[in-house]
């Protein structure tokens, strides 16, 4: 296994872990992760495995979940300022970091209906940092303007808001978000991508620095941790992901 090629999921987990550890961002002591987010979970467990103190709360586990007030505790924790970092995705994401989890076409998704907003319309406001994550990087997903706003990327002055997107991680690249101008800039390119290929796959306009580095490759240490302790931790909450990515099934 150790000699195996780096899988895209491993690359993404490492890219996210580096964003979590970004020293310029507000400190992350506690991160909450949704049920459908194995790659962000792997990233956070990797941060922990690297020796950084980080509390990781997985939502929606039927048993042994970290909450004792049911599903409202996550939102109360965010309200209290006890969640530093959250992950959000979107059926559509636009260049101002607006996200759409509701649907396309006429309200409430007459063209294509997505499941719904979940808690995004609160979490995006009350969490100091949000990392947007969506593997599919196409003009269908990354649009000039979302059809429906589940949660806005920025808010006018006077509207209570503790934070915005820090970055958007996709299968092609990492964008950094700049709330002061409500625009993304290209931070790094995954292997095989160019500024042009990303531009062609992106429906929204974004800033391009003079030099765009490649997304750093996972180190040997990171890979070893991912395939060792992180995999073990992931096995129970994310069995299907582990089977697919780490070729490892739960004994249960």
């Amino acid at each position: 296994m150790s000699a195996a090629a780096i899988r895209p999921e491993e690359r993404l987990a490492v890219a996210i872990a580096r964003l979590v550890l970004d020293p310029e961002a507000p400190p992350a002591r506690h991160v909450a992760i949704g049920a459908a987010s194995p790659i962000p979970a792997a990233a956070c467990f990797l941060v922990r495995a690297l020796g950084h103190p980080l509390r990781v709360s997985l939502q929606q586990r039927r048993t042994a979940n970290p909450f004792s007030e049911g599903s409202r505790e996550l939102f109360d924790l965010a309200g209290q300022g006890r969640i530093d970092l959250f992950f959000l995705g979107g059926g559509q994401i636009d260049g101002q970091a607006n996200i759409n989890l509701i649907g396309t076409g006429e309200w409430p998704g007459r063209e294509a209906r997505f499941p719904g907003s979940f808690g995004s319309a609160l979490m995006y406001f009350l969490t100091p940092r949000t990392i947007l994550f969506r593997e599919e990087h196409s003009p269908r997903v990354l649009v000039p303007r979302v059809d429906i706003v589940s949660a806005p990327g920025v808010s006018p002055p006077g509207v209570y808001r503790r934070g915005t997107a820090q970055a958007l991680v996709t299968g092609r690249c990492v964008f950094r978000f700049h709330p002061e101008r409500a625009r993304f800039s290209l931070l790094s390119l995954h292997p095989g991508e160019t500024v042009e290929s990303v531009r062609a796959a992106t429906g929204f306009d974004f800033d391009i620095p003079a030099h765009v580095p490649p997304t750093p490759e996972p180190t040997e240490q990171e890979l070893a941790l991912l395939r060792g302790p992180v995999r073990e931790t992931m096995l129970e909450p994310y069995p299907e992901f582990c089977a697919r990515v780490f070729d490892r099934k739960s004994a249960a």
């Binding site: 909450f67 808690g119 609160l122």
Partner: protein, 278 residues
């Protein structure tokens, strides 16, 4: 409190009722939803606490539902909820989108008997834009000169809360464990109709270890025993979801015909069984 039959419990849900119900990962009343399909319930208004899943998709597909208020409808690992998705695209469902903490807040307002509660976030979202029943007002505790608009949500009192609990006792108290949001829904609702895995002797509220996970009989209108009543979803640590069955449902329910086939095989079949048992 003497348990009644599952079919009798379903008969306690009148057509048109506003019914609060939990999603698949919580305490889903799957067996009761199937009984509601069998009884031909009509015009139900479903409230997701705070989202909905299999049971709601089934009721929607069977034509039992006029309106849905929820923060999402999903089958989890099995993907999108097919009958819900189809109904939204067809425009045959009145849909009120919310966000999870807004539903918790509206139920907590009803639980406390106050007419409204504030909530942060939401401003600038199209959810808010489509909720004429929600208001935005200045925070009355903001420092002088500050704007600070905040959303005010009205109390939401369901007619009925339905859910599947691990156990009931002889008094009608039911044990829901750490799913406190379901306790809040039961407190907020006028009546709770509960299926349980089993009935135990004694009084759960007199056991200090179990009492914190109890919803008092005060809130419970009727109880029916439904073993594995959450199936095909899981129940706490009692049993895991039946992922294969949920995937089968998701596949069949992609079409009207497939959904009818599913119902014939797994829902209506229960009718003769239930009738035989009655």
């Amino acid at each position: 409190m003497t348990p009644i039959s599952l079919e009798a419990l379903a008969a306690e849900v009148p057509d048109g009722a506003l019914v609060a119900m939990p999603p698949d990962y919580s305490l889903p009343a799957s067996a009761l939803a199937r009984a509601l399909v069998r009884r031909g319930a009509r015009g139900l208004r479903l409230l997701g606490v705070p989202i909905l899943g299999y049971a709601a998709d089934l009721l929607i597909g069977a034509g039992c539902v006029a309106e849905v208020e929820t923060s999402a409808v999903t089958l989890g690992e099995a993907g999108f909820a097919p009958r819900f998705t189809a109904a939204v695209r067809a425009g045959t469902l009145r849909l009120r989108d919310a966000t999870c903490p807004a539903i918790h807040t509206m139920l907590q307002a009803a639980e406390k008997g106050v007419p409204f509660m504030p909530l942060r976030g939401l401003i600038g979202s199209d959810i808010l834009a489509h909720r004429p029943d929600w208001k935005v007002a200045p925070n009355p505790f903001a420092p002088p000169g500050a704007e600070d608009p905040i959303v005010l949500l009205p109390a939401l009192r369901p007619d009925i809360a339905i859910f599947h609990a691990a156990m009931a006792d002889a008094e009608g108290n039911v044990w829901v464990g750490r799913r406190r949001e379901i306790a809040t829904a039961a407190h907020a609702a006028r009546r709770s109709l509960v299926t349980v895995e089993r009935v135990v002797a004694g009084n759960l509220l007199e056991d200090e270890r179990l009492a914190p996970g109890v919803i008092s009989a005060l809130y419970v209108a009727a109880v029916a025993v439904a073993e594995r009543g959450a199936w095909p979803c899981g129940l706490l640590d009692a049993y895991a979801p039946d992922g294969a069955h949920l995937a089968e449902y998701a596949r069949l329910a992609r079409t009207e015909e497939g959904f009818r086939e599913y119902c014939a095989r797994y829902v209506l079949a229960g009718a003769s069984a239930a009738a035989a048992a009655a």
